[in-house]
C-alpha cells in the first residue's frame, strides 16, 4: 500500500483530468509537445485551453472571478500577478511545498533563474510586487524570456562591423547600416501605438539607468535617463526599416526574418522562428549577443509564470504538473522542444547547447536580468497605455520628447494619487 504510494506519488491522482490554460506562445507550443510524456508517466489526463495572451488574460479575469472556476492550472502574464494576488485568486504555493506527499525533494529550487522567480513568482515583498522579507511565492516562472540582441553575421562580416557592446555603438551601427546596405534597416524595433511603443521604450530605459518610479512611487520617466532612452528609441526607429513607426512585434520580427534589417533587439522567444526555414529567410545567418549596456547592463525579463487558481478543482494534481514541468527534467525537455528554459542548469546543458547554440548567450544574458524593469501594479495598464500612445506621438508626430515625457509623468502622478500610493507622504 504505502510502498506503492512511495513508489508513485502520482497514484492517487491517476485518471483525474486537469484543465490547463496556456497562452498561444512559442514556448507553450513547445510545452504542448512534451505534455503527452507527463500523461504517460503519471496517468493524469490534460486538457489544454490555449489562448493568445491578451485574450488569455481577459478569460482568466472572468474565470477567476467565478466561485468555481474551470482551470486547474493557469499560465499568467507577469503583470497579471499583481491583479490576481491582490484579488486573492492565486494559491500561495507554500502549503504545497510543505506537503511531503506532493513536493519532490529533488526539485532544486535554487537552480531556477532568480531574476525570473522574483519577477514572476513572488509578491508581497519590496514595492509589494517583488521578493523580499514579506514576500511569498504564488507562481513559478515558466516560458519566461529576456532581451538579447540578434544580428546578421553575414552583414556584419561583410562590412567588418563589430557587434555593439554599448548603446552608443548600437545606435551608430544602426544608422550606418542603411548607408552600407541601401534598402536595409538598422535595427527593427516595435513602435506601434500602445504597449508596443511602451515596451520598446522600457527596453532601453533601464540600461540607460532610468526607471518609471523612484522608491517613493514618484514618476521619474522624464529625467534625462528617460529622455535618453526615448531618444535612443527614436533614433532606432528613424534608422530602422521603412514605415517602422507603426510596426507591431509582428512586423518588426517580420522585417528581420525577411532580411530587411540587420539587427533585432527583443525577446529570446524568436530564436525558434529565426531558425525555421518556412518562416525566415535568414536561417543560420543570425548571431546573438547580450543586450548592449548603457550605464549598466539590464536586460528585460518577462514572459509567463504558472500558478494554481484559488477556485481550481484539483489543486494537488495541478501542483504536481507544475512541479513536473519546472523540474530539471521537464525544463530540459521543453528546451529541447524549442521552448525557453527557466533553469541555469538547462542553459548550461551541452546537449541543449548542441541543438541551440545561442542558449549559452541567453544564459549569460539572464545573469543581468532585471526583475524590476517596470512596476507591476494594478494601475500599470493605464500608465503603460498612456506611455505607449504618447511615445507613438513622439515617433510619428515629432512631439518634443521632454515635454512628452513630462506629460506622462504628470498624468502618471495623477493616476498614482488616485490609486492612493501617496497616502503615506
Amino acid at each position: 500500500m504505502a510502498g506503492t504510494a512511495f513508489a508513485n506519488p502520482y497514484a492517487d491522482y491517476e485518471g483525474t483530468t486537469l484543465i490547463v490554460n496556456f497562452p498561444a506562445h512559442p514556448h507553450y507550443d513547445a510545452v504542448m509537445k512534451i505534455l503527452p510524456e507527463f500523461t504517460a508517466e503519471t496517468g493524469i489526463e490534460l486538457e489544454v485551453d490555449q489562448l493568445p495572451y491578451l485574450k488569455m488574460r481577459e478569460r482568466q479575469t472572468l474565470e477567476l472571478g467565478q466561485d468555481e472556476g474551470e482551470y486547474d492550472l493557469i499560465a499568467y502574464v507577469v503583470f497579471s500577478k499583481a491583479d490576481y494576488v491582490f484579488a486573492d485568486q492565486l494559491e500561495n504555493l507554500a502549503k504545497y511545498f510543505m506537503n511531503p506527499k506532493l513536493s519532490d525533494p529533488g526539485y532544486d529550487a535554487g537552480d531556477l533563474i532568480d531574476g525570473y522567480v522574483y519577477n514572476i513568482g513572488f509578491a508581497g515583498g519590496d514595492k509589494g510586487y517583488l521578493e523580499g522579507a514579506t514576500g511569498s511565492l504564488f507562481g513559478i516562472p515558466y516560458g519566461s524570456e529576456t532581451s538579447v540582441l540578434g544580428y546578421r553575421k553575414d552583414i556584419f562580416d561583410k562590412h567588418g562591423l563589430k557587434v555593439p557592446e554599448t548603446y552608443d555603438e548600437l545606435l551608430e551601427i544602426a544608422c550606418k547600416i542603411p548607408e552600407l546596405e541601401p534598402g536595409m534597416g538598422g535595427l527593427s524595433s516595435r513602435a506601434a501605438s500602445g504597449h508596443h511603443a511602451a515596451h520598446a521604450f522600457l527596453l532601453h530605459l533601464n540600461p540607460m539607468g532610468g526607471a518609471i518610479f523612484d522608491d517613493q512611487w514618484n514618476p521619474v520617466v522624464n529625467n534625462e535617463a528617460g529622455v535618453k532612452a526615448a531618444e535612443a528609441l527614436k533614433t532606432i526607429v528613424d534608422c530602422g526599416p521603412e514605415g517602422a513607426t507603426n510596426f507591431g512585434f509582428g512586423e518588426a520580427l517580420g522585417s528581420f526574418l525577411n532580411g530587411d534589417t540587420a539587427m533585432f533587439l527583443d525577446t529570446t522567444v524568436v530564436a525558434g522562428q529565426i531558425d525555421d526555414p518556412s518562416k525566415s529567410q535568414v536561417v543560420g545567418k543570425v548571431g546573438w549577443a547580450l543586450h548592449p549596456m548603457g550605464v549598466e547592463r539590464a536586460s528585460q525579463t518577462g514572459g509567463f509564470g504558472i500558478g494554481i487558481p484559488a477556485n481550481a478543482e484539483n489543486k494537488e494534481a495541478a501542483f504536481l504538473l507544475m512541479q513536473w514541468l519546472t523540474s530539471k527534467k521537464g525544463d530540459k525537455l521543453v528546451a529541447m522542444a524549442g521552448g525557453n528554459p527557466s533553469r541555469f542548469s538547462t542553459h548550461a546543458d551541452e546537449e541543449v547547447n548542441a541543438k541551440y547554440p545561442h542558449m549559452a548567450t541567453f544564459g549569460e544574458a539572464l545573469k543581468h536580468a532585471d526583475p524590476d524593469w517596470r512596476p507591476i501594479i494594478p494601475v500599470w495598464g493605464k500608465i503603460n497605455a498612456d506611455l505607449g500612445t504618447t511615445l507613438s506621438k513622439v515617433l510619428t508626430e515629432d512631439l518634443d520628447i521632454q515635454e512628452a515625457l513630462d506629460g506622462v509623468a504628470e498624468r502618471t502622478k495623477g493616476v498614482m494619487t488616485e490609486a492612493g500610493y501617496y497616502t503615506w507622504n
Binding site: S193, G194, K382, A385
Partner: protein
C-alpha cells in the same frame, strides 16, 4: 366580445417573444451596465462588491482629453464611413437593379467582403497597407507613383477605406432588396411620362426607397460606432490616438485598464450620443410628415 379582447391582444402576442428575449439578453445586462457606470468596478469584482462612486466616472471622462480625442475620431470616422457607404451602396444597387444573366452570382461577389471574419479582414488590410511589402505600395511603385504611409500618417483614412470596403455591401443589399420590391407599374408610368433613367431614380425610386434607406443608414451609423476588431487588428488605435474610436477605447478600458465602471460610463455617453442622433432623425421625418399634412389641410381649406 372575448374575440374583441383577443383582437386587442394580437399585437402583444406578436411582440411577446422578441420582447422577452431582448429583455433577458439585452435590457437586463444593459441595466447592469448602467448601474455599473456609477461604481468603481474592477473586472475581478462582482458588481455587488464594487464601490459606489456616483457620477465620478462620468465627470473624470468629461475632463479626459484622450476620451474627447477618441470621441472626435469616432464622429469623423462614423460620418465619412456612413456617407461614402450610403452613396456607393445605393449607387451600386441602382446600377444592378436589372435582370441580367448571373445576377445572383454578381450580388454574391459584391457581398463577399462582408462575409470575411473581421479579424481576418483586419489582418488582410494591415498586410496590404504594409509600407514595403504591402500590396498597395508595391502597386504604386510598380506604376511609378509615390508610396503612401498608410497606417502611419494616413491611418484614419486607411481604416475608413477598409471599413467602406467591408460594409458597403450592407447598404447595397438592403437598397437592392428595397428597389426590387418597388411597385413596377409606377415606374412604367414614369417612363411613359418621359422620365429619363436619372429622373426615375430621383423622383420615383429614391423617394419610394426612402423608408428603407433611412433605417439602413441609421443602423449602419450605429454599427459604425461599434466597429472594433478590424481597427484593433489594423492599428490598435494608433498612431497616437488617431484611430482609437470609442468602441476600441471602451474595450481597452475594460480589459487593459480594468476599469469597468469607466468603460460602462463611456458606453453610456456613446449611447446618449446615438440616441440623440436617432431621435433627431425621427423628429425630422415626423416634422416633414406634419408639414405635408398641414399643407394638405391648407389646400383642402381653400377648396
Amino acid at each position: 366580445m372575448q374575440r374583441a379582447t383577443a383582437n386587442r391582444l394580437t399585437p402583444y402576442m406578436f411582440m411577446a417573444p422578441a420582447v422577452v428575449i431582448m429583455v433577458i439578453a439585452l435590457l437586463y445586462p444593459l441595466g447592469y451596465m448602467v448601474w455599473g457606470s456609477f461604481r468603481d468596478w474592477d473586472p475581478s469584482q462582482t458588481i455587488g462588491e464594487a464601490e459606489f462612486v456616483g457620477l465620478k466616472n462620468y465627470i473624470t471622462l468629461w475632463h479626459d482629453p484622450n476620451f474627447r480625442e477618441s470621441l472626435g475620431v469616432t464622429l469623423s470616422f462614423a460620418f465619412f464611413v456612413v456617407t461614402f457607404e450610403m452613396v456607393i451602396g445605393v449607387g451600386l444597387a441602382l446600377l444592378l437593379d436589372r435582370n441580367i444573366r448571373g445576377m445572383s452570382v454578381l450580388r454574391t461577389l459584391f457581398i463577399l467582403p462582408m462575409m470575411i471574419a473581421p479579424v481576418v479582414v483586419g489582418l488582410m488590410w494591415r498586410y496590404m497597407y504594409h509600407p514595403t511589402v504591402g500590396t498597395f505600395n508595391r502597386f504604386f511603385e510598380a506604376i511609378g507613383l509615390p508610396t503612401v504611409d498608410w497606417l502611419g500618417a494616413n491611418a484614419l483614412m486607411s481604416v475608413i477605406i477598409a471599413d467602406i470596403w467591408q460594409w458597403t455591401p450592407f447598404i447595397f443589399i438592403l437598397s437592392l432588396a428595397a428597389l426590387q420590391s418597388l411597385p413596377r407599374s409606377a415606374l412604367e408610368a414614369a417612363r411613359i411620362d418621359g422620365a429619363t433613367g436619372w429622373q426615375q431614380i430621383i423622383h420615383i425610386k429614391l423617394p419610394l426607397m426612402m423608408p428603407v434607406l433611412i433605417v439602413t443608414g441609421l443602423l449602419r451609423l450605429i454599427d459604425a460606432f461599434k466597429v472594433l476588431e478590424v481597427i484593433l487588428v489594423m492599428t490598435e488605435g494608433g498612431p497616437g490616438l488617431s484611430t482609437e474610436i470609442l468602441a476600441l477605447r471602451i474595450s481597452r478600458t475594460a480589459t487593459e485598464f480594468r476599469e469597468l465602471g469607466v468603460a460602462a460610463a463611456m458606453s453610456n455617453y456613446l449611447l446618449i450620443l446615438l440616441l440623440f442622433i436617432t431621435v433627431m432623425m425621427f423628429a425630422f421625418t415626423r416634422w416633414q410628415e406634419m408639414r405635408a399634412n398641414r399643407l394638405r389641410a391648407a389646400v383642402e381649406e381653400d377648396e
